[in-house]
Symmetry: C2
Subunit: 412 residues, 2 copies
DNA sequence: ACTGTTTACTCTAGGTAATGCACGAAAGCG
DNA sequence: CGCTTTCGTGCATTACCTAGAGTAAACAGT
């Protein structure tokens, strides 16, 4: 692992921009105090970002007798980024401004049975990206970068979908295929990693070193961050928490193994539990996970005993699985994300919390914050766009150091 | 996580010394090629280490017509380090030379029922350290540093044993108490972290980024390394793999939970299995884990069906638990260490390997090497001494750059 | 208005690191 | 005794971060 001083610079650049994004208009002094960097360095980095037109000075803050503090904020019109979330049943594209606020979004459905070839998926990505960019008033070539999240295992550096079980893809050079249609920098990765990036920049992971972001949806997994940076593992497939063991020789899992976490706390697992508890329940919508989870959520809030039993039992499994993660990784914060967490997260987490003490070691547990994802909109497309933002930040800067902000044009 | 250029320097210093320790006498050129550092930088770092007397030039290598390459090696007489492994039933001290070869070792037994106060343990550490240093021909004050591994959770920076379940210690300021008797730098941590440090410097973890070292003994746990560095987690308690779930509502574990990995693959767990399979087996030595595991090992090699069944069943559990770790962490290498692995590791690993494919995802599994610990002697005291070595390396250097090795005193 | 005070920012110098390049060192070869 | 080859190191350069000096922009009291 070759480390260079450039890495420090880039990390500091990330950090400064993150603070500004998180705190809105903010003074240099405050950034310096928060990051522990010297004021000179912050001033330098801010100058760099100002010159790159990513920031602007937006006002002044009285400082009680002295020179007022200039407040810097992200120049939202500096450019646009796109984040693409490709899932089994849809392609979701969002266009963001440089403050990562959604400007436009487009979703196209996918029909898993008929649409599974790379060419078809690529066509959907390209067409929905064009449509979204159009709505945001920019040509696709005007974007600063595009991040794409696709399920499965990704060779990020090569831009290759190494293996996507849902479409049975093997070594599909997705980035190259997309590059034929899109002439801006492309970043490919998977939803777990996009999710953790979104939390690190905009969610509960801000300013934290060690983070686990649990994706609770149809599939289940964890995105991990270590020392403030996304952790990928040896082959970019760390975080497959959904396929760790929960019950020896338990339910079969779609991964081929038995007793995986996913088989118990993923949406199909929850449906199976509902079927076990009440085979004829009207809450059960065969073939429709979303509707079933929705029905469970509203029945739970209405006090329905079947829904309560399903939630309680699911929380029992979830608690054990979260405890495992806490014991192994000792993270500062664990975030529950994705659609099952959005719909059922609150009762699941409340009940799981009460059980965690039975399984997690008490000291790591006491030092771990467990929260629901608070990011509005789709964290995966946000995270994908953040890959593009990071890529852009890595490219800027260099020889720019001196006298970047000379003409101030101050009031009066 | 504040990163500074000093960290880079220290990391490079570690890396260079690691190569020299691993490869024996080696030329600067080779180090540069291996590490990717420029020859100038390597020369600079080597000069620094030469001036600190940690290295010496030991010979020359013909280079076919040109100036011969000078070979540098560790000057083993440069000083001594101590590593202390404190366990439930013994205190084991080893004195090492600067190449981390054992010069002397002393072991004192502990009687857990009578000796559990910090003062008693400290007395044992101090007395055995004095005895060992004496055998190595050095006063305890002549050591370059002492690393101490004690079980439980450690506040490394503060040198405090935060919690040690076996002695029911809470917040014992062990380093301060030891410092009253030992006037050299002291480093406190736990066996999991010592074990992974030993593997990173001297074992299967050399040159690897992401490593998991499994400790299979009475207790079970994992030491983790990420990006080539020990991973501690938020409160220095990452790696408690032994207390992750293997069987929902399974065997009670001494941690208070149920169904933990430790309860199935730790030595007491293996004994319990033997008792289940053959309650009257002569292999069973009640109250003596070591003898029982020894008996199992030799019976296994003699083809005994009971021992075979016990090993096979244990391997089933071990395979699942290792698969979990591979799926979550995607490490490059997994090392099986500690005394159960030493005695029974070969058959356990052979059988577990055959089962791993059923539980671990195939691509991460295919990229993970799983090996037995090849370190001779006690990896925990070696790792503890390595903490002291790292501390020493962090302190040296600074203004030393110029003309360090001028008088060469070349042959002829 | 003027002067001092306070606070914010920037510039310069200095320290640390890595590295490319050139030159001296140390061989072998004719 | 040059000539060639290959090492190793000093020096200059570049790229970081930081302390501290200096400058800018306010306010307060004469």
């Amino acid at each position: 692992m070759k480390r260079t001083s450039r890495d420090i610079r880039v990390a500091n650049r990330f950090e400064v921009l993150r603070r500004i994004l998180g705190a809105g208009p903010v003074a240099r002094q405050e950034i310096a105090a928060d990051t522990g960097l010297s004021l000179a360095t912050v001033s330098n980095l801010v100058g760099e970002l100002l010159q790159a037109d990513l920031l602007e000075e937006v006002g002044y803050q009285d400082s009680g007798g002295g020179r007022p503090r200039a407040l810097v904020a992200v120049r939202r019109s500096a450019g646009m980024l796109a984040g693409v979330d490709v899932a089994e049943t849809y392609v979701h594209v969002e266009i963001f401004d440089t403050a990562l606020r959604v400007l436009a979004s487009v979703e196209e459905p996918l029909h898993p049975s008929q649409e599974s070839s790379p060419a078809q998926i690529v066509a959907h990505i390209v067409s929905s990206l064009r449509a979204a960019a159009d709505r945001a008033g920019v040509g696709p070539e005007g974007l600063m970068g595009v991040g794409v999240s696709v399920p499965g295992q990704i060779d990020r550096a090569g831009g290759v979908s190494v293996f996507a079980p849902n479409w049975d893809w093997h070594d599909v050079p997705l980035r190259a295929q997309l590059a034929e249609h899109i002439g801006v920098p492309l970043y490919l990765d998977n939803p777990l990693r996009a999710g953790v990036l979104a939390e690190l920049w905009f969610g509960a992971g801000r300013g934290r070193d060690d983070v686990a972001v649990l994706t609770l949806g149809t599939g289940v997994g964890a995105g991990l961050a270590v020392r403030g940076q996304l952790y990928r593992g040896a082959t970019n497939s760390a975080g497959e928490w959904g396929h760790t063991n929960l019950v020896m020789d338990g339910r079969p899992c779609r991964c081929g193994s038995h007793g995986c976490v996913e088989a118990y706390v993923g949406a199909p697992g929850i449906m199976a539990r509902l079927r076990e508890i009440a085979p004829d329940s009207p809450l059960l919508r065969p073939g429709d996970q979303t509707a079933t989870i929705d029905a469970l959520a509203s029945a739970y809030h209405a006090g329905d005993p079947v829904a309560t039993a399903v939630v309680a039992e699911t929380a029992r499994y979830l608690a054990v699985a979260i405890a495992d993660l806490i014991n192994i990784l000792n993270p500062e914060v664990v975030v529950l994300s994705s659609w099952v967490a959005a719909k059922l997260g609150e009762p699941l987490l409340a009940r799981a919390r009460a059980l965690l003490g039975r399984h997690a070691l008490s000291r790591p547990l006491a030092n771990t914050e467990i929260v629901l994802c608070r990011i509005e909109g789709n964290p995966v497309s946000l995270g994908a766009a953040t890959f593009a933002l990071e890529g852009y930040l890595e490219r800027i800067g260099g020889q720019v150091t001196a006298a970047a902000t000379r003409p101030r044009g101050h009031r009066r």
